[in-house]
């Protein structure tokens, strides 16, 4: 079984696969509501949150106005770089009614990058607690989704699994700005989820 939620896009699987079953594609990373959907091939759900039911859809009133509080829980700065790119004139995220905000008090969505270092766990939870309900969480990037390359070391958790309830998982190392935008629209119910891993536990 392959867990796309732990994929860092290193392309080694393509290079070493003896039968050439794994191919390179130019597909973007995609967001999913259920962690288990990211498990390909085994047709079974993995551990932790993987078996949990998909998060309930976000209420309609957020569809055209979403405020995001971003927390870097120990990323390599790749996800931050792509998040910043969302604000450049090319992507211009504001046109979709989606904004980044400084205060968790006025945020609807907690967007988390990084594998959750030991030192960042408490500040992350504190930020979550400071948000008014209803509040939503999006794991952005492979580190936040499955731990990535640093997860499980002496200083890191395995991403958000077991740390916070997650409404949308977006792997990618890093997910490009268009993929992040797509995932945000999936979360808002403005675009359909389009996970299509062969044999995924759907």
């Amino acid at each position: 079984m392959l867990d796309y939620g732990r994929c860092v896009v290193c392309q080694r699987c393509v290079e070493v696969c003896p039968t050439g079953a794994i191919e390179k594609t130019t597909d973007w990373a995609f967001g999913v509501r259920t962690r288990g959907v990211l498990h390909a091939g085994g047709g079974r759900t993995g551990s932790g949150n993987a078996g949990s039911p998909p998060s309930s859809p976000i209420p309609r009133r957020f569809r055209r106005s979403l405020h995001i509080r971003h927390v870097d829980s120990g990323s390599c700065n790749g996800c931050e770089s792509e998040l910043e790119a969302l604000l450049n004139p090319f992507y211009n995220l504001h046109r979709l009614g989606i904004f980044f905000t400084a205060s968790p008090r006025s945020a609807d969505l907690l967007l988390v990058t990084g594998p959750v270092t030991m030192a960042m766990k408490e500040p992350l939870l504190e930020t979550y607690r400071a948000m008014p309900e209803p509040r939503f969480v999006m794991a952005t990037g492979t580190c936040a989704t499955g731990g990535g390359i640093a997860g499980g070391g002496y200083s890191c958790h395995q991403g958000l699994e077991g740390v916070l309830p997650v409404d949308l998982w977006l792997p990618g190392c890093p997910p490009n700005p268009a993929a992040i935008m797509d995932a945000l629209l999936i979360l808002l119910g403005r675009r359909p989820e389009r996970a299509s891993l062969p044999g995924s536990a759907r």
């Binding site: 971003h70 770089s81 604000l87 992507y91 980044f100 400084a102 270092t117 200083s155 890191c156 490009n176």
Partner: protein
């Protein structure tokens, strides 16, 4: 390790030998300096501490190797302030005591962290126990002094770190930065890894310095394993490294424009940055140029025929943007005199990259310790002397032009041929050790690698990150300045937290 000689000395001689090699009288020679210090396990219980020195322009580097008896060494932080953080790092991660250290409080592992054994000598993966505790700061009793704690979760899309300002009115009396919230224990992730896995890890230490990290790691492994990449691979590596410098510098100018509240310029800068990211993506499949470098060359060849034209189109926009910025009075007004770093402090505290070159220290590893195709490429190393935010910006502005010229020249020289070494070309390092030194966007980046006897697996990898050096320097430009200049000053340093924290 070549081009580096190695010398084993006793712990007692350490102070004397270092004092003789780097006497106070040569303090003005920027090429005579301590590059880094790190520890490694040597056998079951023993440790070894390595001091990596540069002994002057054109001289081979020197690696001093010391075995600390009873896990203790004399601290040299008072003579060589730049060594302070390295000693604190070894104290946190290896449990080495440095007698007489002026500020041996926790650095990498915060106050309140407990471990069964120090992480890098303990069992791999055994988690540290983190209990939230306040940082070590001076006691201030005067009621007029206010404290502003900022972070670790800050405004906007930024990396996590905490900054404490002690101030009266607008004036900053004391500044304390608490980094390493993002410490991921990356060096330990390399332990037991193959060189191929190592490259994938190195690419993910600091995303905006992907190529610099992969390159330094590959160079270190190539020295250890005796590999010489083919000319085409070396040429493409330089092109990728300069593309990375270009995109990072454009990001830097967009940030400076944003901090000086120039909305149009900020949009222009970030659009130019985006265009280079898209060029990188189209060229390599990765906007961060990941997945290309490999030990011995490149993992696959690249088709570069359209690159020159795309860069020519971009160049006029870039030059126009940078020129207009420097014609903007309000921009100059906020940069001139802001965050001044003197040459002495830059030298003593170990500043690197554009930061040191803006404070009249003329150093660049591409020229001074040339590697790959930089051995034959011609370029100038821009330098400024006023040491303020404007000087740092001017150095980077000139580097943008140099990078574009370097890419163009490399493309013109590019010959066809293989991109990966199939067999070793030179004798491997007898001890299975190697050192890679690369001038990244932010300055000098070193990787030291130690292989197992079979040269299949990595035992220890040390990463000396340029931002680790420059964060050490940064507070010296904040104390006694004012709060309004802080954000501009921080942007003018162009620091990465992921890299420094590792």
């Amino acid at each position: 390790m070549r081009p580096c000689t190695s010398q084993v000395i006793g712990a007692r001689e350490l102070q004397k030998v270092l004092g003789e090699l780097l006497p106070a009288a040569t303090r003005s020679d920027p090429h005579r300096r301590l590059r880094m210090a790190y520890a490694r396990k040597a056998g079951e219980t023993d440790l070894e501490v390595l001091y990596y020195l540069s002994l002057g322009k054109g001289c081979p580097d020197l690696l001093l190797r010391v075995t600390p008896g009873q896990h203790a060494l004399p601290s040299l932080a008072n003579q060589f302030p730049a060594l302070s953080w390295y000693e604190r790092e070894m104290h946190d991660l290896f449990g080495i005591e440095f007698a007489g250290h002026p500020e041996l409080q926790p650095l990498i592992l915060h106050e309140g962290v407990t471990t069964s054994r120090p992480p890098l000598i303990g069992q791999v993966g055994a988690p540290i126990h983190y209990r939230t505790s306040p940082p070590t700061v001076p006691t201030m009793n005067a009621t007029e002094i206010q404290c502003l704690p900022f972070g670790p979760v800050r405004a906007d899309i930024v990396e996590s770190a905490q900054f404490l300002f002690y101030y009266i009115g607008e004036g900053i009396l004391h500044f304390h930065q608490r980094l390493f919230y993002k410490h991921r224990g990356m060096e330990q992730r390399f332990e037991g890894a193959s060189p191929m896995t190592g490259v994938i890890l190195a690419e993910r230490v600091s995303a905006t310095d992907t190529v610099a990290h992969a390159l330094a790691f590959c160079q270190a492994c190539e020295m250890a394993l005796g590999l010489l990449p083919p000319p085409r691979a070396l040429c493409i590596r330089a092109i990728l490294a300069e593309l990375e410098r270009l995109v990072n510098h454009l990001h830097y100018f967009a940030e400076l424009a944003r901090m000086t509240t120039l909305r149009v310029a900020a949009a222009q800068g970030s659009w130019l940055e985006e265009q280079v990211r898209q060029i990188n993506g189209a060229l390599t499949g990765s906007r961060f140029l990941r997945g290309l470098l490999g030990v011995g060359g490149l993992r696959h060849d690249l088709e570069l025929s359209g690159l020159a034209d795309r860069l020519t189109t971009l160049e006029s926009g870039v030059l126009d943007f940078l020129g207009k910025l420097e014609d903007t009075r309000s921009y100059l007004d906020r940069l001139i005199g802001t965050g001044r770093l003197s040459t002495d402090v830059a030298m003593d505290q170990g500043a690197t990259g554009p930061v040191e070159r803006a404070s009249a220290l003329d150093r660049d590893l591409r020229r001074d310790r040339p590697y790959g195709s930089y051995r034959t490429l011609r370029f100038t190393v821009p330098q400024e002397s006023s040491g303020d935010a404007l000087a740092r910006a001017r150095v980077r502005r000139a580097e943008v032009t140099e990078s574009l010229a370097l890419i163009r020249e490399s493309l013109a020289r590019l010959e066809s041929g293989p991109v990966s070494t199939v067999r070793p070309d030179e004798a491997p390092d007898p001890a299975g050790e190697g050192l890679g030194a690369v001038e990244g966007t932010r300055g000098g980046l070193y990787y030291a690698v130690h292989f197992d006897p079979d040269r299949k697996r990595l035992l220890r990898v040390k990463i000396k990150e340029p931002s680790f050096s420059n964060w050490r320097v940064f507070p010296f430009t904040v104390m006694d300045t004012n709060l309004m200049d802080y954000a501009i000053n921080e942007a003018s340093f162009g620091l990465s937290i992921a890299g420094a924290d590792r």
